[in-house]
Symmetry: C2
Subunit: 112 residues, 2 copies
DNA sequence: TATAATTTTGTCAATTATTGACAAGTTTTA
DNA sequence: TAAAACTTGTCAATAATTGACAAAATTATA
């Protein structure tokens, strides 16, 4: 899997013989906007990952990996970040996990 | 370097004997908001990275690595992404670079 | 070829998120 | 204990994102 997330969706959709309208309906989206997503002109909203997984019977975890990997890649490309950035990210994830084992949970706004 | 970006700024600031007000001035920020940034309650705006680099005579590239690494780590922690996400990100950066060598540049809105 | 279906693009108001600013509170320092 | 430094809460202003629709372009098919 090397494509962007939009290209990936398009691939899934066409492989399964769906039109934009059909998939957009399942994702609770306008077909015009799904087109933009597939062509990289709009972002796919994280909230719809589960619907996308259901639409094609995909593993949500794998989908998340594709999705966030894509987001990070876009940012890195856009800002010309060094590959080192990803190593730093890995360290910092571990750091965040370690301090939260000790100190309880960080609250993010997407949690209730 | 394992700390969050906010902790990193605080470290730099205190090591150099600056108050919030003093550093905030250099960053064109309100000291109250800088406090929130240091404590992870607000985001540091990418546009201020250069000012931060100047304030402490840091290499902008290294700062970017810390900054974006921190952003990715937060997202991964927040959404409980697998470590694999970073490998996917690396592949996709290369993919983006390869298609743009071939096809010309992707335009991002932050470019003029 | 025409016409129907599909996809793409443009636009814009509405919603949502982020920011700057200031007041008020707390903690630290001298 | 007074001043300085830091933190927290709030909110209007600004900015970014989204949904929706119209219309243009492309593709498929009768």
């Amino acid at each position: 899997m090397k494509a962007t997330f939009g290209e990936y969706i398009k691939q899934l959709r066409t492989d399964n013989g769906l039109t934009l309208t059909q998939l957009a309906f399942q994702l609770d989206l306008d077909s015009a906007n799904l087109s933009k997503i597939e062509n990289g002109k709009r972002e796919f909203d994280e909230k719809r990952l589960e619907k996308l997984a259901n639409a094609f019977d995909l593993d949500l975890e794998k989908l998340k990996t594709e999705y966030f990997g894509d987001q990070f890649a876009k940012k890195m490309y856009q800002y010309n970040c060094s590959p080192e950035t990803l190593i730093v990210a890995e360290e910092k994830v571990n750091y965040l996990k370690s301090i939260n084992v000790k100190q309880g949970e960080i609250k993010f706004d997407n949690e209730k």
